[in-house]
Assembly symmetry: C2
Amino acid sequence: MSGSILKRILIGKPLKTSALGEQKLNKLKALAILSSDALSSVAYGTEQILLVLAGIGFLAYWYSIPIAIGVLVLLVALILSYRQIIYAYPRGGGAYIVSKNNLGENAGLIAGGSLLVDYILTVAVSVSAGTDAITSAFPVLHEHNVIIACLFVVLITILNLRGVTESASILAYPVYLFVIALAVLIGTGLWKIATGDVGSVEHTPIGTAVPGLSIFLLLKAFSSGCSALTGVEAISNAVPNFKEPSAKNAVRTLTMMGIILGVLFTGITLLAYWYGISPKADETVVSQIASEVFGRSGVYYFIQVTTALILVLAANTGFAAFPLLAVNLAVDKYMPRIFTIRGDRLGYSNGIVTLGAASILLIFLFKGNTEMLIPLYAVGVFIPFTLSQSGMIKKWFTERPKNWKWKMSINLAGAIITLTVLLILFTTKFSQVWSVLIFLPIIVFIFHRIKGHYEDVAKQLRMDENHKAEKPEGNIVILPVAGITKVVDNSLAYAESIGQTIIAVYVAFDRESEKRMEEKWQAYRPDIRLVTIHSQYRSLVRPLRRFIDVIEEKGAENHNSVTVIIPQFITKKSWHNILHNQSSLLLKAHLLYRRNVIVTTVPFRFEK
Amino acid sequence: MSGSILKRILIGKPLKTSALGEQKLNKLKALAILSSDALSSVAYGTEQILLVLAGIGFLAYWYSIPIAIGVLVLLVALILSYRQIIYAYPRGGGAYIVSKNNLGENAGLIAGGSLLVDYILTVAVSVSAGTDAITSAFPVLHEHNVIIACLFVVLITILNLRGVTESASILAYPVYLFVIALAVLIGTGLWKIATGDVGSVEHTPIGTAVPGLSIFLLLKAFSSGCSALTGVEAISNAVPNFKEPSAKNAVRTLTMMGIILGVLFTGITLLAYWYGISPKADETVVSQIASEVFGRSGVYYFIQVTTALILVLAANTGFAAFPLLAVNLAVDKYMPRIFTIRGDRLGYSNGIVTLGAASILLIFLFKGNTEMLIPLYAVGVFIPFTLSQSGMIKKWFTERPKNWKWKMSINLAGAIITLTVLLILFTTKFSQVWSVLIFLPIIVFIFHRIKGHYEDVAKQLRMDENHKAEKPEGNIVILPVAGITKVVDNSLAYAESIGQTIIAVYVAFDRESEKRMEEKWQAYRPDIRLVTIHSQYRSLVRPLRRFIDVIEEKGAENHNSVTVIIPQFITKKSWHNILHNQSSLLLKAHLLYRRNVIVTTVPFRFEK
């Protein structure tokens, strides 16, 4: 009872199914919850590029500009491609549906499995990063990082269980504050540069020759920069969550997100280049830029706080996309059916809770140091990117609608670029991403096993034309008794009303009680057969089970069903339960799931 | 399956009830497992006295001799009294039985409750102390104290689950090695004193005047010394565990224990006095004496190791006595019946596991710093001591057997001394022991509640002469269905074989599926009534429960029993279970324990 009150407080009142429409997102809220992952990448994307270039030397920093241009090209290609995907698949599903429909089952499962894992990684990585940012400001909290990160995950899980719109309303503020904060930073920074109001500027001119630079390193820097694009997929998965017209709204939101992401990423990269920023172990690139532009003023801290918050909230994108993807997979029977059930607040609670639990597990396993998962997470995104682009090419080529060549060339460009990034990731960071090659096949295998099982079951349950359930010719009822009490009397009355043959069974631990019971039973109900079993090892369940097995075999021969009656005490107070029912629970646990017998629980209610 | 193999390896093969005789203890083994608690007190008894005297000053140390004599007198009185108790109550039970039989129910329950808590404290305190002693030798382990202590408790629990004799065989060695080690220490120490082979001896002559000494402090020192006697009760509780003639063997073991305890305690106290030992924070008194006598030689380390081991093993006394006391209380219905059941290896497993779990909990709660529990633990022992001595006085006075005056005077002396110690403990250490006054009444209250409940139940279950169970006039069967499948067909066949009225119930989440189901059912079995319920909140269980409530009421009016049939899939592989049965589990959880309906599980076995 108290459990359900707690649930009511945390999650809110259950909503009627008919309220589903009200739970849909408008563009502003959708942008907030579906793009927080992508936008948060701005906080570390430039840094990832500079970190690789720093390995060569200060001279190489100017390469961040052409690399950023490469990332922008990729971004444009992805946005254009995904616009087409959303229009083509307005019911959502993103990479999984696109790949499955055009490239076949396994391609779809690889894309889907890869994304599922990826959303878990998103949550774990971004919450850990955000927690790190926050506890860096309050060092006393630093040793509790893992617990704090887990609490954040629990909080986000609860918000999502409350429902999509409600979580969007709360989470929109930090996202927009972050966008504003970075816009102010970039605007002011560029203004200072334009007015010449910058101190000693130390940046190598673009085009400076850099000794020791290899194509491999440049590609590595580029692939690191691509980690800024990991959240782009989310919107295409969540089209059904948008207000009508959902496809159109989703496309507009996607375009808006692309523009914001492009502007912020370019701005930060430019400022970093111009101010000659080097990545440092104990201060982020964004923090360095902000303190160059504003000094350690209020604006600086505002930027730091919103950055930390958006890192935590990036997790929310995973919470928006994972459950929907799980529904798609579960509808196709690749995942357990429970993922298709809407909870009290109309969200897919099982998916939400699964995601929360899995990411808490990851945070614990890696003790909060989830940075090493970032490359894995980039690979996990670019696999479905590539597959969905390829799927779209196939689609245009097969269907040949109006303008198909133009549409196909957009997706072709997208496919080539994403495949290239994927190959670069595998080449340059193989030691960090090889595990994908092991766990992805395992996941696809599990999907197939689950579907196989559901199909077997469906076959076995389907009614054939000529199927006729065998009517039992009679019912043998077994009643375990521990003495002669009203409970026995009560259960016996029920047994006689449903069965033709009734057998009472008594398990005796010593000869004396065996004899005594036989005599008492003779006086009580000589018309009902009593079987006594002597248990040398003081086990109640094992001898009973053996006896039931024997009766079951005989019953099957004579087309009789076998029913075991287990009395259950209904106690007045719940603490009384620990004083009763242990043996019957044990017996039930042994009989359910195992035997071909019918188990009937007959209640006996205590009045006090 | 693998669980039961693990159990077999840890606990051993189940034993037949007839093997009970072989599990009885001979004197040598009994002395080892039942006196390890008392004997281990020698490791800290003297130190407890000196610690109080050290508060006054070095001059006061000679008072340890008269105080030790006081403790010895108390020991003799206790041993003589308990000899009489064992002969009078050869079936065991110690303070609980003696107090209950002679002083009434509540006195017995106070004694019993007090001892139960005490055995838990024994285990927690002694294992923590032993772990401390061991990790002091290996400082790298020190931070893992709590875990190591818990592992020790688990180990001792497993040994005890293996059976009494088996644990005695393993645990006897350390106990006897400890006795030998201390005997060698005392012998050599006294020999050195006798031959004058002792360095600069610094002890105040006995009788030296000590300024600032108060009776209060002397009493406090005395009561601290009495903590050495806390294990004396154990043997009288465990008389039934002895080989026949059990009472005689128990008395001899008790006497032997008393002599060893007296000799070791006197010896250590004498040596401490003679060598002028002061208690130190980082070295025990026994360690100081040993290094005075032997230097840091092999013998010294041998003494240290055996001392650490016996501290851990003192816990075993609790494991021998707690389950037997719990049986006595459970037989009288003051504790749940499960404590009376012998496990696979004939030990009372539930008592053993409860004790292990409770002491692990204590160790966790106090983070291994259980020293503060020692005074509590002394109070917990002297309450039953006093009660059982008083009970014996009453017994002798009422029954007046041969020599009753002599017998009574022995117990009278015992009662007076133990009561005095108890009062001293309360006076001098009230701040540490007041909690007894709260939790003991609570425990006694719980005992009464449990007994009250069992008596209510017995009354409600008892067959009256004129009782006749009401035979149901008919059986209404409710069958929740989710579609039309073989499972439904199968369950329906059984339903028809046991019931007169059959109602199929379908819970629909939308109007469309509701209509579809009604049409399909009409085609399938128009003769069986189908009720469809529309669930606005997508809950399966709540609307079903409400429907069942309604039918139940109607059924009760017409003297019909109501049976709900829940199909249960029996899957081929256990992992398949997570793909099925969730709704039926949920429904069962809501129907069991709550409703007045009969719940029947009809299995449907998948072939693959």
